[in-house]
Structures are given as structure tokens and as C-alpha cells.
Point group: C2
Chain length 357, copies 2
């Protein structure tokens, strides 16, 4: 009998328990006083009829939707899917659902998504496609629900934001390579229009300048795929003064670079050392293992979500005080030392007989 009987309504319960709808509402939402006798009667009527409040009706009355919107560039990307996981968990603890949308870094799609979501959610968690976009800024300014930005900030607008220390992470990674004695370090990959990439480049450059080494940056926003990376590497390695180390600005570049160097039979780290930004599952499994800057992905998601729910709780009472300067929360990154930077010996695998116990 699929889709047959309609759900019980609040007035069904009221009739069944012989009370007014007001009383039932009070029982459901707690708070107001209800005599123990009626309470019990209503409770049993509710369970008997299997009553579940209709959310649309509640929302219509001006209540919260108990839904938040999550807007990310991509969900297939493990960075964002891990964030989504953390966010979803926090939301569930708050009895709230998460609508997932992806923009593919397309501003038009982002704009449309935000418009749709504003009317249908209590708040938004957003990874902005562009930190500068005037259009996006205006859209966010006029928005009637709380918005939190994460991973990338928005300029010239006061929005609570959580990001990671891209600058510091990249600087630490570069410093580390410099400490190994490398002077010619190539900074490779990454879309030049993205905030995170620029911050990492800034960190790289800062470290190089500190050491009086000449920065060598090759960002190719159009072709930072495998092919583009391959061409870039070949070009640089064929030069008169080939790089002794490569600092990859993003995950996929790290993977491509690794794969390309292996194919070219260039030994890592003895011929070319390698450090990547952003950790990934196999970075420790590959031989040589890859040194990376690790971002606190779960914490990023948790913090952003917590911030949103904090605002949501506040919003119930008074309007938010937006006058106070909002400083982005910056989460610490961590340099994970493995073999590709030259820190560890290339791992000597243990033999089979030695491994038993």
C-alpha cells in the first residue's frame, strides 16, 4: 500500500487525546507547562498515531528549516569530501540536514546556487569561487541568513571565515627544502586565480627571499593537469640550471609530478627532491614516500560548521553585531617529513623472515 495513508497531523493527535491543538504543540516543543496527566495522554496518542511534525508547516510559520547549505567547488575532491564529512557530522548533532551543492568553481553556478539556497536553508557554508568578485560580495551582503566562508576568504566584506595557514605551511615547506641545501627550488602548479594558491606562492617566495634564493614559479592556470605539468617539468629540467627540488602547490600536481619524475627515471630525492601541499592517502605508501604540508581537514569542516551553528543560535535572539571586525580563523598546517625531501633514507624494506613474530 505504497503512499496510501496520509500521515497523522497534529490535530489528529489533538482529537485522539481529546485536547486542543495548542496543548499538543506544547507537548511536542516542551517549554510551557502541561499537567502530567494530559502530558501522558498526548504522548501516548503521538506514539500511537506515529505522528511526526510536518516540517513545511513549521517552516511556513517562520521557524527554522533545520537545513544548512554546503557549497563546494567539487565533492569528488578528497579535500572537500573530508570537509563535507566533518560538517555533516556536526550538523547531525544539531538535528540539522545538509544540502550539498557543487559549483565547479563556476561563478554563475555559485550565484544561482546561493539564490536557491537562501530561501530554503537556515545558513550557508561556502567555499567562494573568487575572493574578489564584486558580484558575489554584493550577493552575500544582501543575504538574509548567516554565511560562513571556509578554505577561501572573501575580501572587503565582514564574513566569519575559517582557513588554513597556506602562507605559513608553504613557507615552512620551502624553508625545509632550503635547509637541505637546495637553492634552485621550483614552485609548480596551482590555479593563479585561487586564494589558497596565491597564499602558498607567497609563503614560498617569502622563504626564498629570506634565504636570498631566486624564486622560480610556474603556475599554469589553464593547464595544471598531467599534460601541462609534464611539459613544465621537462622544460625546467632541460634548462641550464635545472631545479634541485620541486614544491608542488596542490595535490594533483604533486601526484602528476611524482609520476612524471618516476617515468623520467629521475630519482627522488637524490636528483630532484619533492614536497607537496596537501596530504593524501597514498603519500606515505609510495616509495619514496612523499613529504607534504598537511592541512587539518576535519578541523576545518568542524570549525566552520560550529561557527555557523553558533551564529544560528545567536540569530534566534538578537540581530548579529556585525560591527566588530571579524578576523578569519587560521588553522595550523603541519609539515609531514617523509622521504621525498631527502629527510629519510629511501626506506629499506624489511625482509619477509624478519617480519614475523
Amino acid at each position: 500500500m505504497k503512499g496510501g495513508k496520509r500521515h497523522a497531523t497534529l490535530s489528529d493527535v489533538a482529537r485522539s487525546a481529546d485536547v486542543g491543538t495548542t496543548t499538543v504543540s506544547r507537548v511536542i516543543n516542551g517549554g510551557a507547562k502541561v499537567s502530567p496527566k494530559t502530558l501522558a495522554r498526548v504522548r501516548s496518542a503521538i506514539t500511537e498515531l506515529g505522528f511526526i511534525p510536518n516540517h513545511a508547516a513549521r517552516t511556513l510559520r517562520g521557524e527554522q528549516t533545520k537545513i544548512i547549505g554546503l557549497i563546494v567547488p567539487s565533492i569528488a575532491d578528497s579535500f572537500f569530501s573530508s570537509c563535507a564529512d566533518a560538517i555533516q557530522e556536526v550538523a547531525r548533532r544539531h538535528g540539522t540536514l545538509v544540502i550539498l551543492t557543487v559549483t565547479n568553481n563556476d561563478p554563475a553556478s555559485e550565484n544561482a546556487t546561493i539564490s536557491t539556497l537562501v530561501r530554503r536553508t537556515d545558513g550557508l557554508l561556502l567555499v567562494p569561487t573568487s575572493s574578489h568578485s564584486l558580484e558575489l560580495r554584493n550577493q552575500l551582503r544582501d543575504i538574509s541568513i548567516p554565511v560562513i566562508c571556509f578554505d577561501r576568504p572573501m575580501y572587503d566584506i565582514q564574513i566569519p571565515t575559517v582557513i588554513t595557514q597556506n602562507f605559513e605551511g608553504a613557507r615552512a615547506a620551502t624553508r625545509h627544502l632550503l635547509e637541505h641545501g637546495f637553492r634552485r627550488i621550483l614552485c609548480l602548479g596551482g590555479e593563479s586565480e585561487l586564494f589558497t594558491m596565491n597564499e602558498r606562492v607567497r609563503g614560498y617566495t617569502a622563504a626564498m627571499k629570506e634565504a636570498n634564493a631566486r624564486p622560480l614559479i610556474d603556475m599554469r592556470s589553464t593547464a595544471c593537469d598531467y599534460e601541462g605539468t609534464s611539459n613544465a617539468i621537462v622544460k625546467h629540467l632541460k634548462g641550464a640550471k635545472p631545479p634541485q627540488a620541486i614544491f608542488c602547490l596542490k595535490n594533483s600536481t604533486t601526484i602528476s609530478t611524482y609520476s612524471i619524475l618516476q617515468k623520467m627515471k629521475i630519482s627522488i630525492p637524490s636528483q630532484v627532491a619533492l614536497v607537496g601541499f596537501d596530504d593524501f592517502e597514498l603519500a606515505s605508501t609510495l616509495r619514496p614516500s612523499i613529504t607534504v604540508v598537511q592541512q587539518p581537514v576535519e578541523e576545518l569542516g568542524h570549525t566552520a560548521a560550529r561557527l555557523l551553528f553558533q551564529r544560528l543560535a545567536l540569530a534566534k535572539g538578537m540581530p548579529i553585531n556585525d560591527k566588530e571586525k571579524i578576523k578569519p580563523i587560521q588553522l595550523k598546517t603541519r609539515l609531514i617529513l617523509r622521504a621525498s625531501c631527502g629527510c629519510r633514507e629511501v626506506e629499506e624494506p624489511q625482509s619477509i623472515s624478519a617480519s614475523g613474530h
Copy 2:
């Protein structure tokens, strides 16, 4: 002026255009006849007031919510996040939003999630935690909205389902190893309570029996993590007749196994060959590259979503005819031959000078 002015309502528009609410509604939803004159007047009033229909009110009136629910075991898992990506894309094309929920393979969480979602979405895309659960089956039977299962089916209940050819894929992989001359093939990893894993074991076993080889299966549902896998491999390799090849039932087992064999300095494939179920980004990058059974992930998501929207379109008109036997759609898997099975020479990387052009 955050959250200041309230949104314009349909009756605001009606007043402004000096028509009845019914007419405005007709303009918005199209269909019925409206004279060109009034049409223009209403249209301009709509744009002028920036009117956007209130979704809660529509839903309350019994319209669709334009939201579907997606229930997966985990979103950090690249398999499911790729599915989610595909689903989200189809949904967007249908002007529908996707609520993402994760169960962590926990039946209680699944149960609660479904209950919540039923009242708030038009339909559900579900990866069931258990194919057998009587409780889940009953819950699904009483549900008032269309449900599609994917990746794992439900037994003894007619629900449209999309799965991949786990059996055939595993059999093909095993046959391939047998063709290489390996007789002692270990089938490793995977949770024994999951449908997909059992199907793969069935495929493996079928191939082994065909070839009169003795199946050797080691599923350890409690400990199929790195540690458990490591212990298992050591145990098997120390035996009198160590396996010549390993068929890994799932992604994470493949990765662990690969890493462990490398650590043990056991050469792949010359000492132990390796084939995994489910492809992953780095499988082709690792040296040796890993032969895997590839599942059509995007197609799985697309197909499931399309099936749901098909039902949704149908549901508008007549009740669904559930009498017809519903056969699960099975999507083809593909065996990707790489080096770890012994097919290719271990790749001779090209030298740097040879690579330019």
C-alpha cells in the same frame, strides 16, 4: 541591513499588479491561460518586487519539495563521493537539491535518517547498510516516497536497484590471474556482511572452481584495516605453500597489501602478483602500476538518479505499478590490465633526454 526586509509574497505581487492571487499563481506556474496584457503586468510586478515563491508554502500545499535524499555509508570514501558528484549533477539538471546524509554503515543511524528524510524529500537514493535487514525492509515497505537502492540491493522487496557486476568483475580478475599460471591465489579483505564483498568472493570462487584450483579466502570483517591485512599477509606468506597472487576485495585492502608487500621487499608481480577490486587515482601511477577491476562510478550515480527522477515524474500521475518484478540494473565492470598482475613488464622509465621534443 542584514535580514531586515521580508521577502515579497505572492499577494504582494497580486496587489501591485492589481490582479487576484490566482492569476499570479497561474503566471508563475504557467499552463493556464492568462491574457497577454495581465501577463505582462504580473511579470513586471514580479521582477520589480523580486518575488521568489516560498517553498515551504508550496510544499505544505502538497507540492513536491524539490529535494531528494542521498544516504551513503561514508562520503570521505572516493567511491561514494564520486557517486554523489554524479547524482548531484543529475539532480541539478532537474532543478532539485540533494540532502546528503551518511550512515557509517550503522543500521540505527540509517533508520533514523530515513525517517527524517521521508517527510522532507521527494525521493531517496539509498546504499543499504544491510541487504537482509528485516527492519529496514519493513521501513522501506511503508515509505510514502520512491526509493532507489544503489551499489547494494535489498532482498525480498521490490525496489528499483542499480549495482555493478561484482560477481563478473571478480571472476574475470581471478580468471586473469589463473591464465597467468597462478594456482594459489589468495582472496583477501572485505567485510563479510556486505553484499558487494560476498558477490566478489562468489566470483573469485567460481573462477577458482572452474580451474580446479582451491579457493583460499581470508575475510576479516573486524580487522580489515592495515594492521589486520598485514598480519594476514605475513601469516599466509609464511605457510608451506604461500600464495602466488593476491586478489584484494576492496580498495583499502589493495593499498594496504601493496604497501605491505613493498615493505617486505616482496617483488610485485614476480614474487607475488596483485589485482584489486575498484580503481583509484594512483593505481596507474604507482610502480608497478596496479591491475584493478574498475567500476563505472559516475554511471552508477547517474543511473540511480535518473531512475529516481523517472519514478518521480511517474508518481505525479498514477500510482506506481509495483506488481511487475523489478530486476536490478547491473552495470558492467572492466578489468584494467596494468603491471601488478604480471601483464606488463615492470615499466622501464624513459630517460630525461629521450623525453623532450
